[in-house]
């Protein structure tokens, strides 16, 4: 479980910040991924590139403590193939 702050645009003021509970998951767009493996070095519990240069997702669900490393992997991916989504 992770707590995220959701900002609602347009209505103005600090009341816009409300707290919501969601499960987070990581997804890969395999049409974009070229198997460069940066994600593996940043989040080795989640990703591994195999012998054929294809990315294997070892686990999808992200716990609180893991969110930062997966976020770094998402930002590090040169092909923007990774996304964190609400499960």
């Amino acid at each position: 479980m992770s707590i995220t702050q959701v900002m609602i645009e347009g209505t103005g003021g600090a009341a816009d910040l409300r707290t919501e509970k969601t499960m987070k998951c990581v997804t890969v767009d395999f049409d974009k991924c070229t198997g460069l493996g940066i994600c593996e070095s940043l989040a080795p519990d989640f990703f591994e590139v195999n012998d054929d240069g294809e990315l294997i997702v070892l686990k999808e669900t992200i716990s609180d403590g893991e969110l930062q490393e997966v976020e770094e992997a998402v930002a590090g991916c040169p092909t923007e193939a990774l996304k964190i989504v609400d499960a």
């Binding site: 003021g13 012998d51 240069g53 040169p78």
Partner: protein, 425 residues
């Protein structure tokens, strides 16, 4: 959002490419609500450079479509979603750190915080100006011009056997064109991968039908209006319709003359500390233009690779916005290069006491792995077609892993791989 919530500070980012874009995006991601101005010398919105010597130069697919331009973001995303005032097509020409302004044309653009991400530009070959068909390969416009020539079936000569020139030669071969690489040094890629491995990687060219001439300089590039031939120092003449000059890049710091920012006299670029701070209030640097102290390797470095530019862009913006909580940017450098059907990957530093081949045989082609030792520590790793190996070494280097542990790990992987291979035949 009400007026009161808007951060009064203005962030100016100079250089509208990878590091600059990541600076803008990171600033917004941390919740920065102030004004952002992004200044770019090129007419184009930010685009991705690695494809420019690879996929973007490929021949048309079955439906006759050439590959699309690798834009990062649409203009709408830049202006609407990121709320950036994008100023393209004119370079910044001066920085006044007292008045806190950047000069663009006749305008002085004020900043509170500044991220410099002006990257690097291609080194040119003196004397080849003005001949049609002679190109560097750094920008989208360069790549479009090169692609036109490849489409026309150009006989290609590449000057400089670095990564970009090698990728270009490999693309020309894939299109079935003649390709020759001329390299002035006796061994290519020494700065990036060290002596032993430079030669081993370069052997991929001969294996794939590209002629590689090392240890010989270019005497002249000749032609009448357009290029016709390259003459080497030993008198050899190579007929050519396209000459790509890939002899390295120069950090784009010319516009900072007189600004008081310190320029690194050995590796080039703007001198920064671990936090990518230049030492001048509010001024940070990121990407190919930044020389910074990399705490992970304990070395001052200037990177010319994608991963560092992306990460430094984001780190510089975050530190600029919140200097009290600034975080050092440390990394195990990483780059890749695609030649023929081979992927070359390198992590760490090539500045080593020993380089050891731990798996495979470069002469036999296929897959191989080499490790780099400094003292008793693993400091670098090179793989050719070793996609499943490379990042495991990056993690070890990141953690300061020992040489002995790396060797033991490599041996385990080698045996596992050999067994898997034996089982599959």
């Amino acid at each position: 959002m009400s007026q009161a919530d808007v951060d009064p500070r203005r962030l100016v980012v100079v250089g509208a490419s990878l590091a600059g874009l990541r600076a803008v995006e990171a600033a917004r991601k941390t919740g920065f609500t102030g004004e952002i101005v992004l200044i770019g010398a090129e007419d184009h919105l930010p685009y991705d450079r690695p494809p420019l010597s690879k996929a973007f130069l490929a021949a048309a697919d079955d439906s006759g479509e050439l590959p699309e331009v690798p834009w990062f973001r649409t203009e709408e995303t830049m202006r609407e979603e990121l709320g950036v005032d994008v100023r393209l097509g004119q370079p910044a020409t001066a920085l006044d750190t007292e008045a806190r302004t950047v000069t663009v044309g006749d305008e002085q653009i004020p900043y509170d915080l500044l991220v410099i991400a002006t990257g690097a530009h291609a080194r040119l070959l003196p004397g080849a100006e003005g001949l049609d068909g002679v190109h560097p390969l750094r920008t989208l416009d360069d790549s479009l011009a090169v692609r036109d020539k490849l489409e026309a079936g150009a006989r290609t000569v590449v000057i400089g056997a670095g990564f970009i020139g090698s990728e270009l030669a490999s693309t020309a071969r894939k299109r079935g064109l003649e390709a020759t690489i001329v390299e002035a040094l006796p061994t290519p890629l020494v700065r990036a991968t060290g002596h032993e491995m430079g030669a081993a990687i370069a052997s991929l060219h001969e294996l794939n039908g590209t002629t590689l001439r090392c240890g010989v300089g270019v005497a002249s590039i000749e032609g009448d209006g357009k290029v016709e031939r390259v003459v080497l120092a030993d008198g050899t003449t190579i007929e050519a319709d396209l000459v790509v000059v890939g002899i390295g890049v120069i950090p784009s710091v010319g516009w900072l003359e007189g600004s008081g920012l310190m320029i690194d006299s050995t590796i080039g670029g703007i001198v920064c500390d671990e936090n990518l701070w230049t030492g001048v209030p509010g001024v940070y640097a990121a990407g190919d233009v930044a020389s910074w102290m990399n705490p992970t390797l304990g070395e001052r470095q200037r990177m010319e690779n994608w991963t560092a530019a992306a990460e430094q862009g984001a780190a510089a913006a975050r530190n600029a916005l919140d200097p009290e909580n600034a975080k050092a940017y440390g990394t195990v450098p990483y780059f890749w290069s695609d030649w023929y059907d081979v992927r070359i990957q390198f992590v760490g530093s090539p500045d080593a006491d020993e380089v050891l081949l731990v798996d495979g045989d470069p002469a036999a082609g296929g897959r191989w792995v080499a490790l780099y030792r400094r003292g008793d520590r693993l400091i670098g790793a090179l793989t050719v077609n070793g996609q499943t190996e490379i990042m495991k070494y990056r993690v070890q280097i990141m953690k300061g892993g020992s040489w002995d542990d790396a060797l033991a790990f490599a041996e385990k992987r080698r045996i596992a791989h050999a067994e898997k291979f034996a089982a599959s035949v």
